[in-house]
């Protein structure tokens, strides 16, 4: 587990939108196992992992939707155990499986939330509705999926949250709407005191926007790395047995044996480039890394 890119005990708590230490949630058949990670302000962290890996459990535990055990969870400098309501004034969450009632109208959602959040800015909300071309008096059941998600973003962003948590919020959307959503997220993180934690199966979205990637696999945090670090250090080599044997096991994150060759995910691209200058090392995407970790073999 590598947290070095993110964690620094010397940094002040306020530099982080979120700090989690040893968060554990145990079910009969699944354990989210001692997750520790820090999310710096002004950044976007993508949470990746296959279905059932524990991403949603982690998010639910962070929000105290589900009970969990932890040494420390600090969100926006406040302790989750003692200041939960204060924290929730400054965060916004969008889920894929929990929505506003389809009988609501955007206008009513605004009225309701104006009674919920102290910082609610109705004008800002109406501006978002106008920008997203959402009719204010139409019931949500007459909206398309994309329109509903945009409404949830409008509602989420209108109380000036400092941390936006998205749990598969863009799943089911077409590329055009997803691209609009990514623009909103870029705009949101332009201010340095804000941050986004985003779990998504659509890793290409994370390639476009994430500053950090946290990878959860079977309830365990495999790594938290900066996106640049992943790009600079991870690569794929297609090679034969001879080169495969020549590689140091420390540099091989995972590999797949194919009919006449090996596809190797290496975790030290720069060093290998200097050693094997004539070997072509492909750039990787987040999806490649994920698939190698799940489906590839490891050298013990």
């Amino acid at each position: 587990m590598d947290h070095s890119a993110v964690t620094s005990t010397e940094d002040h708590q306020m530099d982080y939108a979120m700090q989690v230490k040893n968060l554990t949630k145990t079910y009969k058949d699944f354990t989210l196992d001692h997750i520790s990670l820090d999310l710096p302000r002004g950044t976007v962290m993508g949470l990746i992992g296959e279905n059932g890996a524990g991403k949603s459990t982690f998010i639910n535990a962070l929000l105290n939707i589900t009970s969990s055990q932890y040494d420390q969870v600090t969100i926006l400098g406040k302790d989750l155990k003692t200041q939960e309501n204060l924290i929730k004034e400054d965060i916004a969450v969008i889920f894929s499986d929990s929505h506003y009632d389809l009988s609501f109208t955007p206008l009513f959602v605004g009225k309701m939330l104006s009674q919920v959040y102290k910082n609610w800015d109705q004008q800002k909300y109406l501006d978002y509705l106008e920008r997203f071309r959402l009719p204010v008096k139409k019931r949500l059941k007459k909206f398309s999926t994309g329109m509903r998600v945009k409404l949830e973003f409008a509602a989420a962003l209108s109380h000036d949250p400092k941390l936006l948590i998205l749990d598969e919020a863009t799943s089911g959307l077409d590329p055009v709407v997803r691209d609009e959503i990514l623009d909103i997220l870029r705009e949101f993180t332009e201010e340095e005191d804000r941050a986004v934690l985003m779990s998504s199966h659509i890793t290409s979205d994370l390639d476009k926007i994430a500053d950090y990637i946290a990878y959860i696999h079977e309830g365990k945090l495999l790594f938290v790395r900066t996106y640049d670090d992943l790009q600079n250090n991870y690569g794929i080599i297609n090679c034969g047995r001879q080169l495969f044997d020549a590689l140091s096991p420390d540099d091989i994150a995972a590999y797949k044996k194919e009919a006449y060759s090996y596809r190797v995910l290496v975790s030290n691209k720069q060093k290998l480039k200097s050693i094997f200058s004539d070997v072509r090392i492909e750039n990787t995407s987040i999806e490649d890394i994920m698939l190698f970790y799940i489906k590839g073999e490891k050298i013990r």
Binding site: L63, N64, S67, K88, A92, S98, L102, S103, M112, Q115
Partner: protein, 214 residues
Amino acid sequence: MKGIILKDLYDNFCIPKNAAAYIFAALVTIPAGFLIHSEYYYILFSMIILPLFGGCALEYPTEQEEASHFNKLLITFPVSRAQIVTAKYILGLGFIIFCNFLALLCSMVQVYIHHTVRLTEALRICGIGIGISLIFLSVIYAGYFLLGKRWGTIFFIAVTFLIAGIYGASSVLVGIEAIFSLSPILVLCLLLAGSVMTVLSCLVSIRIYTWKHS
């Protein structure tokens, strides 16, 4: 909490099918309460029909919340679970106040226009009606929080039939005169019991809600 109360009001009255159900129920029961010169219907109206409306305040919001899994989103709002549950009880009490105000108006009509009952008897009926409203609310709300919309509604119907059965049986066995001559102390005890049960029910519902959403 105001936001949650506003949402529940919307679920009850701004969704056409729910609003239609309220309008239908009101049209069927309320005019008769004011127009019919009958002790039996007056008692039925003030002590059973109107108190049942208090329990209705939770039915439609529970239905809507279950359909959209809204509770998960609700928990991310800056309100505690206790506040969420308390907001729903406050709305239920609001319904009770409104319904018992209607019962009081009906009583005045029965006392001064139809001369069906005397004022002291009418006030006694109103007191019993408030007590039954509170007891009904406390039982039904805990049922909805525990059982959800589907089984909660079945529970609601079962409790309604039980109360109606008790009323029917007591009318036959004891006679409604017994209700008119009920001691004011007993009426006060009923009110006290209703109040205590409502508080206990709210505390139990908070525990149930926390257990179900943790």
